[in-house]
């Protein structure tokens, strides 16, 4: 029997939607989910294991003698718990994710597939070198792409993320300066820099000073030159910068820095805007990290893992950290502490256990090989085209502080100038959530008031951009008109605005049984 063959016209009734809550707290497909501590217990398990052999334990008298407090769920409950949680997240797979500086582009599933090949995924980092030639081959091949695309002679592959790459670059700079007996104490960082830049400089013992920006949103070359001196170890510059602009004076900056005996660190977070069209090595850069999770599309995973290989100039190459993969006639070698003395005696040492983010290397290499040299050039062109399209489509409704001075690179920067009194960037962002988008980056860079940094990336179609532009235009118009409903947005997300002040005032960072939590009050 077939049901409803002729089309069923439902009886809608004439009542309104019920006010208040449902029995479950769910609203249709918007499902609430309790914590594992509330739905699991210590007897339930979702795995079947062989029985342990009967032996006398040899745990040095340190056997567990107290309950750990780890709840278990059966497999179906586990799958459902995490599937339900997943549906409360926004993601690239759901829509345009215009988070400036973060480069949320499509993550091809081919990359996931190759990373899971047993020859890569099921390989121990301390296996004998003869048994891991293919893995070392991946590292070597990716290294070749990274050095060639950047026009830099060497690369350190082991840093685990962008900030870790910054650390790697600064340690190499400090090693090079110390080697010439010229320890210096200051790192100059533009006001518009990512927070990781000053934090990294401080993490390895440097004092940090800001360089001002020009009214155009670029490094103030004159101010920089005036500050350079024998105490300055390096300048950290993001190019394209966090205002979405190319630092036109990059070569002049690098020349001035080198003339003053210092080195140039480039934050490569925005390399995706110029990959295939510009080689940082041609601009005088000494060290630059490459976020494989940005430019080369390894997934962000809700906050990592990333990977941050660092390319080096001739001046810094000798100081690159261990391990290093080298190709010889008899295959690939892994240079670690044992053999570093032969060719890498100046290496500053090891930054991580093992060899870096292999699982990200396989994904990034698959992405790079898919695009090739021609496709990567198209990547930066389309990324820049999409950002300029957004910029020019919205600058009549949103203030674009650097719009008049020329094209942007891969991201478009707007400010809160012109919003109605009492309306902020936050309100625009939360309004976008109701339109079904993840908001743009808010309040960064710090050099623009109420900054909104929009990075569409190259993997958006024109239709997707047009819809996003329409949505942001609509929200911006409401913010300019003083639409009060915007102040309480989002209205349609799994949660309304969350009380972050309360969260920080009295932090609850782990779950406690209600009776335990109450007793602690």
């Amino acid at each position: 029997m077939t049901i409803n063959q002729s089309g069923w016209k439902p009886e809608m009734g004439d009542g309104n939607a019920p006010a208040g809550t449902t029995f479950t707290g769910n609203r249709g497909l918007m499902l609430e989910e309790a914590l594992i501590f509330e739905i699991g217990d210590s007897h339930t398990t979702g795995v079947d294991l062989d029985a342990a052999p009967a032996i006398a334990s040899r745990l040095s008298g340190l056997e567990r003698n107290r309950e750990i407090g780890l709840p278990g769920l059966s497999e179906p409950e586990t799958v459902r718990h995490y599937t339900r949680l997943s549906r409360q997240n926004y993601a690239i797979d759901l829509g345009l994710f215009p988070l400036g500086s973060c480069t949320m582009k499509h993550n091809p599933r081919l990359n996931e597939k190759v990373a899971r090949m047993a020859g890569f995924a099921d390989l121990h980092p301390l296996q004998t070198i003869d048994t891991v030639q293919g893995a070392l081959g991946v590292i070597h091949e990716l290294a070749h792409w990274l050095t060639t695309l950047t026009g830099m002679p060497a690369v350190a592959m082991s840093p685990k993320a962008g900030a870790h790459g910054e650390l790697c670059g600064l340690l190499a700079i400090r090693s090079a300066l110390e080697a010439r007996g010229d320890a210096r104490s200051v790192i100059l960082v533009p006001e518009s820099a990512h927070g990781t830049n000053p934090a990294t400089a401080a993490f390895c013992g440097y004092a940090v000073e800001n360089i001002p920006a020009t009214a155009e949103g670029r490094v103030d070359l004159a101010a920089l030159k005036a500050r350079l001196g024998p105490d300055v170890a390096a300048v950290m510059i993001t190019n394209p910068n966090t205002c979405g602009l190319f630092e036109r004076d990059m070569k002049a900056i690098a020349d001035a820095v080198h003339d003053a005996g210092a080195l140039v660190y480039c934050d490569g977070a925005n390399f995706n805007a110029i990959v295939g069209r510009v080689r940082p090595g041609d601009l005088g850069v000494d060290a630059m990290h490459i976020n494989l999770h940005k430019t080369f599309s390894t997934p962000h995973g809700g906050g990592g893992p990333g990977a941050g290989p660092v390319v080096f100039s001739e001046a810094l190459a000798p100081y690159a950290p261990l391990p290093i993969v080298e190709k010889a006639e008899d295959g690939y070698h892994l240079v670690e502490e044992e053999t570093a003395g032969e060719h890498h005696a100046d290496s500053f040492g090891r930054m991580v256990a093992f060899h870096g983010q292999m699982g990200m290397f396989t994904r990034a290499l698959a992405y790079i090989l898919s695009h090739g040299a021609d496709g990567l050039r198209q990547v930066s062109e389309d990324a820049v085209l999409n950002a300029n399209y957004v910029l020019r489509s919205l600058e009549d409704v949103l203030d674009a502080p650097f719009g008049p001075s020329g094209p942007c690179m891969h991201e478009a920067l707007f400010s809160d100038d012109g919003l109605a009194d009492g309306f902020t960037t936050l309100d625009v962002a939360k309004g976008l959530i109701d339109e079904g988008y993840h908001p743009m980056t808010m309040y960064f860079p710090l050099v623009v008031h109420g900054a909104m940094l929009v990075e569409p990336t190259e993997t958006e179609s024109k239709a997707a951009l047009d819809q996003f532009i329409g949505a942001l235009r609509s929200v911006a118009e409401r913010a300019k008109a003083g639409d009060e409903a915007l102040k309480s947005a989002p209205h349609f997300a799994p949660r309304r605005r969350l009380d972050e002040t309360a969260a920080a005032r009295k932090p609850v960072l782990v779950w406690k049984a209600p009776e335990v939590a109450e007793a602690a009050e």
Partner: protein, 452 residues
């Protein structure tokens, strides 16, 4: 190109809207001399999905993967069976392709998971609080040393001889630049840990003492006495756990007085992957929470009073505090933390304890079997799933010759401590639920032949 949706017609229409004659007009700020006129020379052009898969498949085949051989390597990376549902769930696009949860209203999935993860880690380690993950165990270990410096305002750390040599090496690299003083020592092929040395070394200038549990040779030492001595001298005890499954069988470091417990979480939920990405675990006593590095997820309520979660205490972090931040870490290891958390939820208390006792039982049987091979002696009295054998001769060539015969025998101490003659006879063997009785027999036979 399959990942680029714009058509040439789209591009023309968009350029017209922008008011640019060509793409090159959008790159005017790049100095002419730095603009490349075509694709970067010396690199191949785009490739089909099939071609890329073939290329990567050929590289993968040039490795001997753990599943193809009797396999006994550990020393900071452990091969455990990961249930199929773990990998399925972490590949849901809403987890895989999400960003750090900066917009909590549309990131409750990631945030709730992190809150659950933090609680699981804190309980496993016997600590009050845990963060939302670090890069890996080795970097978490250095961050803990830095944190102890902030808490105690002292800069001399005493490192146990049993701490993983790569972790020591990472700390030494960083300490050279930060001015921290590290007291280190090499392990010896003996049954006991270097607890006595540590007790002697802790003094009024010590910021922290760092002890791996179980240690690099698989030995297990009680931390209580070290904690007491450290606290007496105003120092912190940092415990390092490289095999999380061990804590299903062993007392938690926090219960024995450790102030900070860090470690590698890879053994639960995350595969070997040739060394990364892994997931650093970081937990401590509640009173140190504002000195912690990394992201923290906290509970709160939304405007309607519903429970929700947010990233919190971010005034410790680089994006707010810049050069005054507790760490420079930004991206951490979110997806690996998810894998850890899902696997831990599947295991639960019962599964984790059963898995731990299965590992221990198999390891005890394997140790006894291998100790019967002529010329082989077991170093450890106690161990969890990893122990050290004295092969009576240099172990490294033995491991190489067994690899040639398709047996991945373990980690030779010569690989980890090159040039240290006193350790060169050592072979560290890890036995997990993935090791079969046949595997152990193959290793025993291989050793017998190689040592004959």
């Amino acid at each position: 190109m399959r990942y680029l949706p714009l058509t040439n017609e789209d591009r023309s229409a968009m350029l017209a809207r922008i008011g640019a004659a060509s793409i090159d007009d959008l790159f005017v700020d790049v100095p002419e001399s730095a603009r490349l006129s075509g694709p970067v020379a010396g690199l191949p052009n785009h490739a089909t999905e099939l071609a890329v898969e073939r290329h990567m498949g050929a590289l993968a085949k040039r490795n001997l993967s753990a599943g193809e051989a009797p396999f006994f390597l550990g020393c900071g990376a452990y091969r455990h069976h990961v249930p199929a549902s773990v990998d399925h769930l972490i590949q849901r696009g809403e987890f895989l392709t999400a960003y750090t949860p900066y917009q909590p209203e549309i990131a409750q999935g990631t945030l709730q998971m992190l809150f659950e993860f933090q609680t699981q880690v804190a309980r496993l380690y016997g600590c009050d609080v845990a963060n939302a993950s670090m890069y890996d165990g080795s970097t978490a270990c250095w961050e803990a040393i830095v944190m102890a410096r902030r808490v105690t305002r002292r800069n001399k750390a005493v490192l146990s001889a049993g701490l993983h040599p790569h972790y020591v090496s990472v700390a030494q690299t960083m300490a050279r630049f930060t001015g921290d003083v590290l007291e280190t020592a090499l392990p010896t092929l003996e049954a006991t840990t270097d607890a006595a040395r540590l007790l002697d070394a802790i003094d009024g200038e010590t910021s922290c003492v760092v002890v791996q549990y179980p240690d690099i040779l698989g030995r297990i030492g009680d931390l209580s006495e070290i904690a007491a001595r450290a606290h007496e001298k105003g120092a912190l005890l940092i415990a390092v756990v490289t095999e999380p499954v061990a804590l299903g069988a062993l007392r938690a470091p926090g219960e024995m007085g450790a102030d900070i417990v860090v470690g590698e979480g890879q053994g639960i939920g995350v595969g070997l992957q040739f060394g990364g990405p892994y997931v650093g675990l970081f937990a401590c006593k509640e009173r140190f929470v504002r000195q912690m590095p990394g992201r923290l997820c906290g509970e709160t309520v939304d405007a309607e009073g519903k429970r929700g979660f947010v990233l919190t205490l971010s005034t410790r972090e680089q994006h707010i505090r810049r050069e005054k931040a507790t760490s420079n870490i930004c991206t951490n290891s979110g997806l690996c933390a998810l894998a850890f958390s899902i696997h831990m939820t599947l295991l639960g208390e019962k599964g984790l304890r059963d898995l731990a006792m299965l590992n221990h039982g198999l390891a005890v049987k394997a140790a006894d079997r291998l100790a019967k091979v002529p010329g082989v002696a077991l170093i450890n009295d106690g161990f969890f799933n990893e122990f050290t054998l004295d092969l009576g001769r240099e172990a490294r060539p033995v491991v190489r010759s067994l690899a040639d015969r398709g047996i991945l025998a373990g980690v030779s101490l010569g690989r980890l401590y090159p040039g240290v003659a006193a350790l060169e006879r050592g072979l560290v063997v890890a036995v997990t639920e993935t090791s079969t009785a046949e595997d152990v027999e193959a290793l025993a036979a291989g050793l017998e032949e190689a040592l004959a």
